[in-house]
């Protein structure tokens, strides 16, 4: 038995959470150090597995697709086992998660209230995310999925911040009764939405499990089962809706702006950066991987809704005056690009989609880290009152600009490569017109991102704020790391795409494309 490297990556944060809960009482520094070390272990190991993955073997031998494989039977009669393994897609996303949580620990260095519990929950959540990306057993996959979703409720409900939404319009009465705008509302909304999605996923998983003979939850074994086309269609729809809620598909996306806006910095980073990717990953891995006919059948739906997401999200982002809402809606828009890439069912598009998951994850992580910094220093998220921050916080301004440029797909940032590949895939897909909403989306993104940059960092200094300090100490670690990843992967996309390609090509080869 080799060193169980994926398990160590996955459980290291959890061990960190336990250590934080049991040993680090009343020592905020120890809490942070333990968190940094345990997530650091995950980060280092995820780089190691990323580098040592044998691409050649994966390309030639179908059995070697999932490497670093571990399997421990849990409930043999039901075919449940702890089965983990990683291919190119998983590895890239594991790397993303590691980067985001590692920087997230630094970005939330200044959390003061109940920091012990905060970090413990955060680390628990990360274990769930890692677990989803590496598990090859649907049952365990689902457990990790829930583990990744539920701590969010507490994290937002306790450490979040409330905003204000004025009840207006024909449904104003409903707003008055639901407490919209408060962090409790946001936390509840997010949790209910995601559990709503989970129900669909669970149904889909059981449908596959039962119709395959109720012998195994293993993805590898279920892949080999030729399911009935009609079943495939229904199950794909269930997966699409279930994972799609987490991926923020229109019109089931409204939890995301409220949730992201209310969540504390590291949680927003993790949530927009990684958790939404969980949804897209689920659609690709479980949806396309296990029910390929359903995926082909409903590509038009996935792609069409993705187009709505792109344009609608960008326009909504433009209309916001709250900084966090802008970023949250931009995530909705970019998740549209991710799903559009996947829906093209082409090599370029799917590579673009996976790369977009990575690029957007890092970028939005950077955004939320920066917004957190600005919020912490200015105690405001209201864009119209801001201005001229570039003078007092040049570092934040520069990092925000880089993030923004990546968001609008400027070359030499990771966002460009992802968008370009998506475009290329779109025009080669069954529905070439998808190209136009996607391109339009990048233009709209350019408008709202640069408007925000101009409104916050440019122009004469705002009279409402004085002596805003730039990022300092641990916060720099987060910013530099994230900016570096964006630029490096933008200039040398082969770093990621070679690996991704080795995973997407076999996936696409299994699709019954016309």
């Amino acid at each position: 038995m080799n060193f169980p490297v994926l398990s160590v990556i996955t459980w290291s944060p959890f061990v960190g959470a336990l250590l934080v809960m049991f040993t680090a009482r009343r020592s905020p520094l120890a809490v942070r150090l333990i968190s940094a070390v345990t997530t650091g272990i995950s980060a280092v190991l995820s780089i190691v597995v990323y580098v040592t993955y044998d691409r050649q073997a994966a390309a030639t031998d179908d059995a070697a697709r999932f490497q670093f494989y571990e399997k421990v039977p849990l409930v043999p009669p039901l075919g449940i086992s702890y089965e983990v393994g990683a291919d190119g897609i998983s590895l890239l996303l594991v790397l993303l998660t590691a980067v985001i949580i590692f920087t997230g620990v630094f970005a939330s260095w200044t959390v003061k209230v109940r920091s012990q519990e905060f970090y413990a929950l955060l680390l628990t959540l990360v274990t769930g995310v890692f677990g989803v990306f590496v598990s090859l057993d649907l049952f365990v996959f689902f457990l990790f999925y829930e583990l990744a979703v539920l701590p969010m409720y507490l994290l937002i409900g306790i450490w979040g911040s409330s905003g204000e939404v004025r009840p207006r319009g024909i449904f104003a009465w409903a707003y008055r009764e639901t407490g919209v705008g408060t962090k409790e509302y946001a936390a509840m909304k997010l949790t209910l939405y995601l559990l709503f999605g989970s129900a669909f996923i669970l149904v889909g998983i059981y449908a596959l499990y039962v119709s395959a003979g109720a012998g195994s939850f293993s993805i590898l074994e279920l892949e080999a089962v030729p399911f009935d086309p009609v079943l495939q269609r229904w199950v794909f729809l269930a997966f699409y809706v279930g994972f799609g809620v987490l991926a923020g598909i229109w019109p089931l996306h409204t939890w995301s702006p409220d949730g992201h806006a209310s969540a504390p910095t590291a949680v927003s980073m993790l949530h927009a950066g990684v958790l939404m990717k969980l949804g897209a990953y689920g659609i690709v891995r479980v949806g396309m991987g296990l029910v390929p006919e359903g995926a082909v059948e409903f590509a038009w739906l996935v792609g069409g809704i993705a187009c709505i997401n792109i344009v609608y999200g960008a326009l909504s982002a433009m209309a916001q005056t709250d900084l966090k809402y802008v970023i949250a809606y931009s995530s909705v828009s970019h998740m549209g690009l991710v799903l559009l890439g996947a829906a093209t069912l082409t090599e370029a598009g799917l590579n673009g989609s996976v790369f977009q998951m990575f690029a957007h994850g890092v970028m939005t992580g950077l955004f939320f880290a920066l917004v957190g910094l600005v919020y912490e220093k200015a105690h405001s998220r209201d864009i119209p009152t801001m201005g001229g921050f570039g003078r007092s916080m040049p570092g934040v301004a520069a990092a925000f600009t880089v993030g923004g440029l990546s968001s609008l797909g400027l070359p030499a940032t990771a966002g460009f490569v992802a968008e370009l590949l998506t475009f290329m895939g779109a025009w080669r897909s069954e529905h070439p017109w998808w190209l136009f909403p996607a391109v339009l989306g990048t233009f709209l993104t350019a408008i709202y991102v640069l408007r925000v940059v101009r409104a916050i960092f440019w122009g004469p200094p705002s009279p409402h704020f004085h002596d805003l300090p730039d990022a300092q100490g641990p916060e720099w670690v987060a910013l530099v790391l994230l900016v570096g990843v964006i630029v490096v992967f933008g200039m040398a996309p082969a770093l990621a795409l070679g690996l991704v390609d080795s995973a997407t090509v076999p996936l696409l080869a299994r699709l019954p494309l016309p």
Binding site: A319, G390, F423
Partner: protein, 606 residues
């Protein structure tokens, strides 16, 4: 290929150094030194490349794919590239030296930032001209756009600069949408971005005939945005909010010519679609005239030059539209030299008097003789006066257009040539002669600024003389009829004379002149309403629509969610009344449950 690679790498190294080593950047002048040194060495390398006729192509995979790389990057060196390399490095070098004095009042960190951007720009522009693929060209195309954005917004605390920067970015981005769509479609049809492969396929007739027109049109849109062609020209005059050296480098000599360069580069492809070539020429000529007319009523000296740049870019495009991309490219090179000269001279004037408004200048000749001389040299070159460099390139364009039988275009260009002479001499008379306005005693700029001016002025003259001695291929290729030379000189003279009469002698009142041409004057002063149209579209359509979507999302899509939520809360509120807290009631409930089960077992389960 190591020499061209060095040309590309040096500014990049300088940029990376300045970007990731904050102390170096914050040192200001030291950062300038780093950047200037890198550019100087790059210039030498570019000269060596040019002289050594090092030509060739090299490609490496960039985006991997299952069946070979999906996209490649690399270096392509050919005569066009060589000429551009020399121009870009030379003008960059001179302007970076000039800026050292021009921006000497800036705080050190800001100066360091400026040179960081300058290095990035030099790198991006060189990468653009060295591109062997459409994709790489697009990458650097966007990067120079980014530099333009950052440098226009260099004084980011000025609202006007901030506005101009985003406007420039958005408008060029609009064209770039076409560019990227076009190359993606081209890739989908052919599977490659490489020029050489595409040219080969084009020559062999393997390109999809029916969609090629659309694809190339979309790609041309990128050039429309970048090279400020009608109707996307509106950003360039506003871009003058940036520091003057930036205007000289980016918005006159190099970046804005990228569109012309691209059309020249992809000439073998464009030649396959004659209708599109016709369109390019027509739009170019129209842009030339439109911009010239707006330059005639402008008060701001930099904006006059900006409109003149738009106008000259139109000229170049018109040449390309006449199937003479080489003539256009030739004009690009000479224009790069003397327009940089004009901008830098204008910068020197602004430096001396502290205003951009020509009507508040006058009689500067006495205070600024050096600047005056070089400005007039540049003006003469721009007006196309023999034997300066501009004469030859302009001549070859007119000859090419006449030779292509496009009389209408020729007439428009001739009128533009007349207007060019007029508005440029208008600027000369208003600035250097006439009546003194500005208080104080304007004095000549320091030598770091004067040096580049003289170098460029001498270059303008020497190039002209060199062309006289040995006509370049573009001039050789396009011989106009014999009357063409005198004719265009006559146009220039007429423009000079009119400007002299109106602004020096005051023999003709400008007011009475504008009364005669009232509608045009009215429209030109309002920029033909194009800016207002864009503003209206932006505010009304995009922002308005986004507001609407924002409200729909908040109050309709999310509203429905909240209605569900509120209804659940309400029904929960009703249902909880069942929970009376009375144990007896619960026992009744259990009893009824048992009854229900039993009844069910009785009647339905049978």
């Amino acid at each position: 290929m190591s020499l061209p690679l060095a040309v590309l790498a040096l500014p990049f190294v300088s940029f990376v150094l300045l970007a990731v080593v904050p102390p170096l950047r914050r040192a200001g002048r030291v950062a300038g030194g780093v950047s200037i040194a890198a550019t100087a060495v790059a210039f030498v390398c570019a000269l060596a490349t040019w002289q050594g006729h090092l030509e060739g192509e090299q490609l490496v995979p960039w985006i991997p794919g299952d069946a070979g790389p999906m996209a490649t990057v690399g270096l392509l060196v050919d005569p066009i590239t060589n000429a551009m390399l020399v121009l870009v490095t030379l003008v960059s070098l001179l302007i970076q030296i000039y800026s050292l004095a021009y921006l000497s009042d800036e705080p050190s960190p800001a100066l360091g930032r400026y040179y960081t951007y300058q290095s990035l720009f030099a790198f991006s522009m060189l990468g653009l001209v060295l591109s062997p693929t459409f994709l790489q060209m697009f990458i650097f195309w966007e990067l120079v756009g980014l530099c333009s954005y950052l440098l226009i917004g260099f004084w980011y605390q000025r609202p006007a600069a901030a506005r101009a920067a985003v406007k420039a970015f958005w408008i060029t981005k609009l064209g770039d949408l076409g560019f990227v769509t076009g190359i993606v479609m081209l890739w989908a049809a052919t599977g490659t971005f490489e020029f050489s492969t595409l040219f080969r396929m084009g020559a062999a007739g393997q390109l999809p005939a029916e969609s090629l027109g659309l694809i190339l049109f979309l790609i041309y849109l990128g050039a429309v945005g970048k090279s400020a062609q009608f109707p996307l020209h509106v950003w360039l005059p506003d871009a003058m909010e940036g520091p003057t050296p930036v205007s000289a480098l980016i918005h006159a000599a190099t970046m804005v010519t990228a569109g012309v360069f691209m059309v020249t580069r992809a000439q073998p492809l464009f030649a396959l679609v004659p209708d599109l070539v016709w369109l390019i020429g027509t739009v170019g000529a129209f842009t030339a005239l439109l911009a010239a007319s707006m330059a005639c009523v402008e008060h701001d000296i930099k904006r006059v030059l900006a409109y003149s740049t738009v106008s000259q870019l139109g000229y170049m495009m018109a040449a390309a539209g006449a199937g003479a991309a080489d003539a256009g490219f030739f004009h690009l090179l000479t224009h790069g030299v003397f327009k940089a000269l004009l901008f830098l001279a204008a910068g020197s004037v602004i430096h001396a008097v502290g205003t951009n408004d020509m009507f508040r200048m006058g009689r500067l000749w006495h205070g600024l003789p050096h600047t005056g001389i070089v400005f007039i040299v540049g003006t003469l070159a721009l007006a196309g006066v023999w034997p300066l460099a501009g004469f030859f390139s302009k001549e070859s364009i007119l000859a090419a257009v006449w030779g292509a039988g496009r009389t209408g275009t020729f007439a428009v260009l001739a009128l533009t040539a007349f207007l060019t002479a007029f508005y440029m001499f208008r600027a000369v008379f208003l600035t250097f002669f006439g009546h003194a306005h500005a208080g104080g005693h304007p004095h000549e700029a320091p030598w770091p600024m004067r040096g580049p001016l003289w170098i460029l002025a001498i270059l303008t003259l020497v190039l002209g003389l060199a062309f006289l001695a040995s006509p370049p291929p573009a001039v050789e290729a396009h011989h106009g009829p014999g009357w063409l030379g005198p004719f265009s000189l006559g146009l220039a003279a007429a423009g000079l004379a009119l400007a002299w009469a109106m602004y020096q002698q005051r023999a003709i009142a400008p007011a009475s002149f504008s009364r005669v041409l009232a509608p045009i004057d009215f429209a030109a002063r309002r920029r033909y309403g194009i800016d207002a149209l864009y503003l209206g579209l932006y505010k009304g359509l995009i922002l308005g629509f986004s507001k609407l979507i924002g409200l729909i999302d908040r109050y309709l899509v999310d509203g429905l969610v909240n209605v569900f939520s509120a209804l659940s809360l309400r029904s929960g509120d009703r249902l909880r009344r069942i929970q009376s807290g009375q144990v007896h009631d619960y026992v009744y409930g259990v009893a009824f449950g048992v009854l229900l089960v039993v009844v069910f077992a009785h009647w339905w389960a049978r």
